[in-house]
Amino acid sequence: MLVAGKVFRVSGPVVEVEGVRGVRMLDMVEVGREHLIGEVVRLKGEHAFVQVYEDTTSLKAGDPVYSTDAPLSVELGPGLIGTIYDGIQRPLEVIYEQEGIFIQRGMRTRPLSREKKWSFLPKRKSGDRISGGEVIGEVQETSLILHKVLCPPEVRGTLIWVADAGEYHIDEKIAVVEEAGESREVFLHQRWPVRNPRPIKAKRPIEVPLLTGQRIIDTLFPVAKGGCVAVPGGFGTGKTVTQHQIAKWSDADVVVFVGCGERGNEMTDVLMNFAKLIDPRTQKPLLERTIFIANTSNMPVAAREASIYTGITLAEYYRDMGYHVALMGDSTSRWAEALRELSGRLEEMPLEEGFPAYLPSRLAAFYERAGNAETMSGERGSITIIASVSPPGGDFSEPVTSHTKRFVRCFWALDKDLANARHYPAISWTSSYSEYIDDIKGWWFAHVDREWVALRYLVMDLFQQEERLSQVVKLVGPDVLPQKQRLVLETCALFKNAFLQQSAYDAVDTYASPKKQFLMLKTILEFYQQAGKLVQQGISIEELRILPVYKDMIRMRFKYTEEMLEELARLPQRVRQSLEELSF
């Protein structure tokens, strides 16, 4: 390997290298005798500044720095699904087997297994014209994912040879493409630099919701496939549980879970759970559609910065196969802090709270890699980004939250007071929003019910009224309000207890299909409308509360499983009947 220079200065994860020649910006280099991986982030004369992805303890001035002559890249191919990687795509399971419980430095392990053989089935034949991103063949990667072997984006020409169906290592050649007398070999795996988005044919409009089975999300603040959501919240408000729930229950084909600077035990929780949990739609373990990237808070900070790029590049690879991918980023604030730390070490000019001036442009570039796409092979694939934000002190005006808001169209604000009252998910109905409702209402019309949008706005209107009324209640108590207004409060309370709260740990309640959500919504609004007539006749709200059907509503989220939806569909009718009986 070529020596590119010598270490000149070491300050934490940033290493200054002298005497460099022939090194490009964002090239990957290997630093010191232990070959620690780093990336060139600044060039100045014969000096290069390298951010090192591993602990730099014991690195000395004069140590050699080696050039790899390539940017920081990930390996793409079958075997990604179900694997847990660190921020620079080193397989942690393999490291554990080799090194034991602690992560040593200078570990060199290939991201994909070299031993495993994959059963390859060609889809094109020799003589076909092929261009970048088109499907050459298929590999059944897991029982859920049919891995499409793509022609690398930069390759085009005529296929002069394609491997026969059979078992292949990922290092084996599976095709040869010739263009203008030059031939290129295509392997079962390819590499892609993480900082560059993979190409697509075109972006397409957003139309379909990403169903999460979480009622407050799907019904009130839906996210679309190809959209971006920010989930900000102070500590203890349930960001991570929300992320886990979506990773478990969303109807994405592939989930990339990036644990960026968060707790080690949380990753363990996810890993153990996902190995056991069965996807309700496919009856297969969730592990068979999930890729994990774990760069926990105590792992090197520079690798934390790289981890979300590694994650999104893997997501793009599966999108290019025509899959709908959800990328969970927990948490982007830790990523931004890594950026800040590195920026400080590079002695750059700080802006608000010490963050560098390029924070917003980096955020924008990241979120733009989401979207609904027409892939190079003409299929539809999408990436949805669900990014949690951890604002210091729960203050949403801080730089990361406020900049993120500019680039996402959906915002699930987690509320400390709700979390304190153990109202989970603690998503606030007053400060959250979704701009995707108009994009996806067509889907609800076609697949669930035409009333959906109208009912949704009705609920939102009730909550607006409640917001105003609760100001009054705080001052004088609820008893002085007219019955009609007390009914608004009562309905909202019912709505919070019976609909918005959703237990992640209850076998039935943890997931609600769109149909179930709609029926529950309809039941409560039916109650509101019928009760409105009754209170005008002078019937008190306390009388309504003791009705058996009221209790049924309170417990409907636990009681009606997805197999009992026909029974639930009769509940609005029963509510109407039993309230009508009262009026006589």
Partner: protein
């Protein structure tokens, strides 16, 4: 040893606070151990903070007082700072740099370990399981502590966090396993350290406690090392000797202050309130050393104590701590002023790992719903109290008045207990139902109907 290779240098270029710059040196590694001998022949240790071509910036862990630019001799040890570890460290008292304080010789070490530790591979972790019964209902019932968890105590000056910590250390019960406590004091007063030592001695647990004391009069820079020594020792005992280790660290605020001091001297760009941008990573490097790992029987449970400056939970220290730890126990001044001990605030306290470790087969089947119901009702009490302070208690509805009674009983009977009292979990759960039964059963929507039938106490 390769001591013959060690070169000695004389003379610094600059000394600022606890750090100094030395030039014309070679072959010095980043973050490595340095030994400095001053004119009088006293030796102190330091760590390289930055190394470059022919220079190094060193922080002297014992401070730089008495150093001069010309007469100090410096040895670069060419290895990171390490500590000798052995099971004999239990029952001993050390200073903040690991030297014995109890007048006895250094324990015979089994081997030396790098104090910086290495990150635990997330796939090697085992999810924390099995609760640690502390005998304090507010913790056992409402915020259960789990082996391998890191659960800080957020407190304020004048609140009884030390008393609580000793009560936990004394009463903590780990079923059928070996258990020990490591206590790291950073910048606390001598009285506080004495208080801990005395209460460990009186309760007869001293022989299973190792103490690392960096007191308020020690150089502040020493505090950066103390928790690392304690945690390295804990890793040895947990992962090599199969012990269940409880690490109590007090006070994390002093650790962060020392970090800020050092960062400011180095002229780094501050993030919030003058704290360096890497405070989060720095704290995570300590807190994440808690846990359990696959194939090892021992565990490290952390109980860091954080006094919140000005009782402000949004201050960077408690804030960043809360983002890393798995919940928090918050002490409340108002409860304390009303004479309620332990003054554990009902709502902001939380144990994240509780959910997977309580319920049937682990504690008692009704435990999760009972805890959730108590939280919900107590949250409602707070709303009603706010309302009552405006319109007066007389104007409240009868139901709301029952809630107020519930709130009082909850605080007086359930939360309160004597610092010497060990109330086991079963007793705590029964008491929880006792106070919950002050409310009509219709209000209890978070518990199952069977549980109401079984545990609800009808009153006449």
């Amino acid at each position: 040893m390769s001591d013959y290779r060690l070169r000695e240098y004389t003379g610094f270029e600059e000394i600022v606070g606890p750090i100094f710059l030395i030039r014309n040196i070679h072959n010095v590694g980043y973050n490595e151990l340095v030994e400095i001998t001053d004119e009088k022949g006293r030796t102190r240790i330091g760590i390289t903070l930055e190394v470059g071509k022919e220079f190094a910036v060193v922080e002297a862990l014992g401070g730089t007082s008495g150093f001069s630019l010309r007469n100090c001799r410096v040895k670069f040890k060419e290895r990171p700072l390490s500590i000798g570890v052995s099971e004999d460290m239990l029952g001993r008292v050390f200073d903040g740099l690991g030297n014995p304080l109890d007048g006895m010789p250094k324990p015979v070490y089994e081997h030396a370990m790098n104090v910086n530790g290495l990150p635990i591979n997330p796939t090697a972790r085992d999810y924390p399981k099995n609760i640690i019964e502390t005998g304090i209902s507010a913790i056992d019932v409402m915020n259960t502590l789990v082996r391998g968890q890191k659960l800080p105590v957020f407190s304020g000056s004048g609140l009884p966090h030390d008393l609580l910590a000793t009560q936990i250390a004394r009463q903590a019960k780990v079923a059928d396993e070996r258990f020990c406590v490591i206590f790291a004091a950073m910048g606390v007063k001598y009285d506080t350290a004495q208080f801990f030592m005395r209460s460990f001695r009186e309760s007869g647990v001293l022989e299973r406690v190792a103490m690392f004391l960096s007191l308020a009069d020690s150089p502040s820079i020493e505090r950066l090392l103390t928790p690392r020594l304690a945690l390295t020792c804990a890793e040895f005992l947990a992962f090599e000797k199969d012990l269940h280790v409880l690490v109590i660290m007090t006070d994390m605020a002093n650790y962060c202050e020392a970090l800020r001091e050092l960062s400011t001297i180095r002229g780094e760009i501050p993030a919030r309130k003058g704290y360096p941008g890497y405070l989060y990573s720095e704290l995570a490097g300590l807190y994440e050393r808690a846990g359990m790992v696959r194939g090892k029987r021992g565990s490290i449970t952390q109980l860091p104590i954080v006094t919140m400056p000005n009782d402000d939970i949004t201050h960077p220290i408690p804030d960043l701590t809360g983002y890393i730890t798995e919940g928090q126990i918050v002490l409340e001044r108002e409860l304390n002023n009303r004479g309620i001990y332990p003054p554990i605030a009902g709502l902001p306290s939380l144990s994240r790992l509780m959910k997977d470790n309580i319920g049937s087969g682990m504690t008692r089947s009704d435990h999760p719903s009972l805890a959730s119901q108590l939280f919900a009702c107590y949250a409602h009490v707070k709303d009603i109290r706010a309302l009552a302070s405006i319109i007066g208690e007389e104007e409240l509805s009868p139901l709301d008045r029952r809630y107020l009674r519930f709130g009082d009983e909850f605080e007086r009977r359930f939360l309160s207990q004597d610092p010497a009292q060990r109330r086991d979990l079963e007793e705590g759960l029964t008491l929880g139902w006792d106070v919950l039964s002050l409310l009509p059963p219709d209000e209890l929507v978070r518990v199952k109907e069977e549980e109401i039938k079984m545990h609800y106490k009808k009153r006449t």
